[in-house]
């Protein structure tokens, strides 16, 4: 990271370590934020540096002092020793990923987001070969009412990035999560519950932060050849988050 820039911001510099690598952090930074700034990858789905941390996906859970902590919500502290890339944590991440995969209908061979999907990329990175749990096979209706954006609720992982982006970045309030337990689901805040009757526009941040193929800009599918999609050649730890690529493409 740029130490001079950090000093200019008035942040106090301290140091902590991830898997034995010493990293600097600024006052108030989380483990995740400091790691990202230093280019150290910790798997995550619901974290996006532009928005308030959420702590729902649990993939960024790391180990320190015998405790498991979500790196996205835990502040870095002077001398803190953190473990992230261990067999135990990677195994735990694979189990979490399996849960997310069986909870929805993640038919990658038929999904426009395949190869540019963060859920899929993190699963590759963590070495998940197959979800070995019982599938839910949800039957949620697809919303294709909007001329520019479509939603397949069966791919939603409830990361709330669209909810946060709509509120924090777009100054709108298009999305919310409704329901409890396994019935929790993404909901459109419009009179009909349909996307076409909401304030969402294709230029909104909220239309581009989805880490899976749940919220898709229409008429763009399959426009990148296989082999050239973001995660085809290199893992997400080197390529970075899907949101960065959505903007650059």
């Amino acid at each position: 990271m740029n130490l001079k820039a950090a000093t200019r911001l008035g942040g106090r510099i301290g140091h902590f370590s991830i898997d034995g690598v010493r990293l600097p952090f600024r006052e108030g930074q989380t483990i995740m934020a400091a790691a990202m700034e230093a280019g150290v990858y910790i798997p995550h789905l619901c974290y996006n540096p532009e928005f308030t941390p959420h702590g729902s996906c649990r993939l960024c859970v790391v180990r320190s002092n015998g405790r498991h902590l979500a790196a996205c919500t835990t502040p870095a502290a002077e001398g803190l020793e953190v473990e992230s890339y261990t067999d135990e944590l990677q195994e735990q991440r694979r189990e979490l990923l399996q849960m997310l995969f069986v909870e929805g209908n993640h038919v990658c061979p038929a999904c426009e987001k395949s190869g540019a999907c963060q859920l899929q990329a993190v699963a590759y990175y963590c070495g998940m070969l197959a979800p070995e749990l019982t599938y839910f096979y949800p039957q949620r209706t697809v919303d294709a009412s909007h001329p520019d954006i479509a939603i397949d609720y069966n791919r939603c992982i409830l990361c709330e990035l669209c909810v946060r982006a709509s509120r924090e970045a777009d100054g709108k309030n298009v999305f919310s999560i409704a329901g409890r337990g396994i019935h929790a689901h993404l909901q459109i805040n419009s009179s009909t519950g349909k996307l076409k009757d909401s304030d969402l526009e294709v230029t909104d941040k909220a239309a581009h932060v989805c880490p899976t193929g749940a919220i898709l800009p229409r008429n763009l599918g399959y426009n990148i050849p296989m082999g050239k999609r973001p995660y085809d050649q290199k893992p997400i730890s080197l390529v970075g988050d899907v949101a960065d690529h959505e903007e650059s493409s």
């Binding site: 993640h106 038919v107 699963a123 590759y124 070969l129 070995e132 599938y135």
Partner: protein, 179 residues
């Protein structure tokens, strides 16, 4: 005289694409044929399944015949492998799980374009479709999973090569994909 490894394969609710991808190991099939021999598979004419070391299955479980064959494979194969997205999560055929079986059958056999004498086939010779497509591991224990639609030829090669040589199975980043 060394005993050759006996392999059976089959396609349940599959498209035969996994078998084609397996054949994509090309001339290495010759090398492989010195180490393995095939039992019942779509590539041989053997009708009944014998005891095998490895069973490779593509396709999800979609009808009663799939179920019976899957159980038989588990019984007779020491190592059972789910190959491809369909065997692992039902794959594209599992998109029919979003509809009732009645809706699917009526769309094809009653309301279908150009259908004459519309009726849902009911001859007992035809295996009955299950209400949903299921992954194989929901029915029997699966020992290995080979993801992909289809799994790349290199994955088949790596898997068989390492398995036959008693090594731990490890795939490279480019060999693992779900699409």
């Amino acid at each position: 005289m060394s005993q050759r490894i006996r392999i059976a394969t089959t396609s349940l609710a599959g498209c035969f694409g996994c078998h084609m991808s397996f054949l994509d190991i090309d001339e290495r099939l010759i090398e492989l044929s010195e180490k393995i021999e095939f039992d019942r598979t779509p590539l041989t004419d053997i009708k009944t399944l014998g005891h095998c070391d490895i069973g490779l299955i593509e396709g999800g479980m979609g009808n009663t015949e799939n179920y019976e064959l899957l159980r038989e494979f588990r019984e007779k194969c020491d190592i059972l492998v789910s190959m491809g997205a369909c065997a692992i999560n039902g794959g594209i055929p599992a998109m029919r799980n979003s509809f009732t079986l009645k809706e699917c059958l009526e769309t094809a056999y009653v309301e279908g374009v150009g259908v004459t004498d519309p009726q849902i086939p009911g001859d007992p010779e035809i295996p009955l479709l299950l209400n949903k497509i299921h992954p194989l591991h929901e029915v029997v224990k699966i020992d290995y999973f080979l993801p992909g639609c289809p799994p790349p030829a290199e994955m088949f090669w790596t898997f068989l090569d390492q398995l036959l040589n008693g090594q731990p199975i490890e795939f490279t980043y480019s060999q693992i994909h779900y699409d």
